[in-house]
Amino acid sequence: MSAQITVTQAINRAIDEAMAEDEGVILLGEDVAAKQGGGVFKISAGLTEKYGENRVRATPISEQAIVGACVGAALAGFRPIAEIMLMNFVTVAMDQIVNHAAKLRFMSGGQTHVPLVLRTTTGVGVGFGGQHSDMLEAWFAHVPGLKVVTPSNAADAQGLMRAAIACNDPVIFIENILCYGLKSDDPGPGHIVPLGKAAVTREGSDCSIITYGRTVLDALEIAERLAGEGISVEVIDLRTIAPYDEATVTASVEKTGRALVLHEAVKQYGTGAEIASRLNEKLFGKLKAPVTRIGGAFSAVPMANALEQAWIPNKDAIADAVRTAMNWKG
């Protein structure tokens, strides 16, 4: 059996490699330095010891100041990584992200750019409740100038993080708490996964499930279940949510004729709406069933486990949606 690596180790390794190669790679965030324990989720463990407190800076609880400092450092030629401890806290820093990081390349006519990575984590299923669990990727995907990435496994986490740090545009990098412990075959040092390229995680011929992040696991489980019923499901892991790999998605759905977009964020006005609409524009007349979407319930994420489980996209509902598409009579 080959060596295994967790998502946590993979992200740590990617940052470590980038910091070793380039002194301009710095890390700013609450509790990220060794003295504070190397980050709440230990992503930056060991980095202060190697690169010092100037490059791994534990900050006050000041999200605007964290992202703003990263914007400024990026303008000066650095490749800063901002850790925003939980995704809901990006709300505090939206001005710096949306008005500054995203727009400065354009507004300056290309004279300056902001190569920063904003790392953040979130996820439904750990009982954090309404203000620590939101998936807000659609907010950022809606903003011209931002790239949005989320890995579903350790090898991709490592490779996408390297690509995000190397990218000359600002990247929102979303990590799912429930994925941190997942193991993949160790891709080895120097692994890079280019931004904007989706993975066909499982090939199939009857229906495409287009998803990203933790729900890739659900999609694979459902694909396996439906295989037993003679339904062949193709699973596309977007990896980069914005700009997404439209060519791969379109080719898959052209082949299968059916598509379901699945994500943890609420369905309304989400990424699924965008992808479904684009598939409709590209493949109208070739689809064997309407493109459907499954997302989280339209409420704040509840704390109580029973409610939280009811909030998350339901696996039986995913399977039913595929069956409905298979039996669509028009």
Partner: protein, 325 residues
């Protein structure tokens, strides 16, 4: 306190001040004659404060400023031709017409960000200063903002972080007595912005921003402190915004007696008198202005003749790679 200054530096400050003043005059004239139709935030009354401050900096020091930042940009050294063209929205502008007066960037002059979001420049200035600190390149970052900006959270977060890390940054509050239409006393309970420096353990200095020598020496001291690794300084420079929030806007909310007080404090005649007191001749001062006016005419012509940006510009600079049509 007796303030002294080098004669060449005084001439430098005068020239910077008048470059700002003549440019502002030119813009207002272009607007009034209908040759330009853009939103314009006049800097009338604040010319000297930034001229004296920027004279204490090097060209490659960084500046972050706000939508009312033309005096800062010109004093810092942004060339007039592309600046005029940018404000006119032309392709020959600093930002190819994609920024406009509220979003001027010109890295060759150290002008890294001009923001239309009040107070948001301070955290960014910290980042520029952090880069200089890590590199040890000796650069200083100055961030300009008005009194109104000191009530946004970003101001407080940035002040705390800058002092915590001893960043080489200067927070230059140009207290022009108004945040948009709201007078200072109606938006801030403390008497003075500089008292807030104390809350963050930061060096703070309140000065008459229209006193050229004092303004220059105060900024120079802050620059020296920053370069020596002694950390940030908050300077509260008192000045007046002599017109409304944007050019042409009603400013009847500004009391008449206050406006009269402003007129009496006008930095331009005051600076001219200072120059005469320092044995500069009327002829020399007039010659400087005459030369500047030739430059203003040339810049206005450059802007008028510069083409408008084509629609293909919309696809460029969103990301590094051009986006699809």
């Amino acid at each position: 306190m007796t303030e002294t200054i080098d004669r060449d530096k005084l001439r430098d400050i005068y020239t910077r001040t008048m470059r700002v003043a003549r440019a502002d005059e030119k813009f207002r004239s272009l607007l009034m004659t209908g040759k330009l139709a853009v939103i314009y935030y006049t800097v009338r009354g604040q010319e000297l404060v930034s001229a004296a401050a920027m004279a204490a900096l090097e060209q490659d020091d960084y500046l972050v400023t706000t939508y009312r930042g033309q005096h800062d940009q010109i004093a810092k050294g942004v060339p007039l031709n592309p600046l005029f063209a940018e404000i006119a929205g032309k392709v020959g502008g600093t930002c190819r017409g994609k920024g406009g007066s509220m979003h001027i960037t010109h890295p060759d002059s150290g002008v890294m960000v001009t923001t239309g979001v009040v107070g948001s420049g301070l955290p960014i200035a910290n980042g520029l200063a952090l880069a200089s600190q890590n590199r040890g390149d000796g650069k200083v970052t100055i961030v300009c903002f008005g009194d109104g900006a000191t009530n946004i959270g970003a101001f407080h977060e940035a002040m705390n972080m800058a002092q915590l890390w001893k960043l080489p940054v200067i927070f230059l509050c140009q207290n022009n007595r108004y945040g948009e239409h709201t007078a200072f006393a109606d938006h801030t309970k403390v008497d003075s912005i500089v008292t807030r420096a104390k809350a963050y353990g930061m060096e703070g200095v309140k000065v008459d921003g229209n006193d050229a020598i004092l303004m220059y020496n105060t900024t120079k001291a802050a620059v020296d402190r920053a370069r020596a690794g002694e950390g940030p300084t908050l300077i509260e420079a008192m000045c007046y915004r002599m017109m409304g929030h944007f050019f042409g806007a009603d400013f009847s909310y500004m009391p008449k007696e206050h406006l009269a007080e402003m007129a009496a404090e006008d930095p331009l005649p005051r600076l001219r008198q200072l120059m005469l007191d320092h044995q500069f001749s009327e002829a020399e001062l007039d010659a400087i202005v005459a030369d500047l006016d030739v430059q203003m005419d040339a810049a206005a012509e450059f802007a008028a003749n510069s083409p408008l940006p084509g629609p293909e510009e919309i696809r460029k600079d969103v990301f590094e790679e051009e986006i699809a049509a």
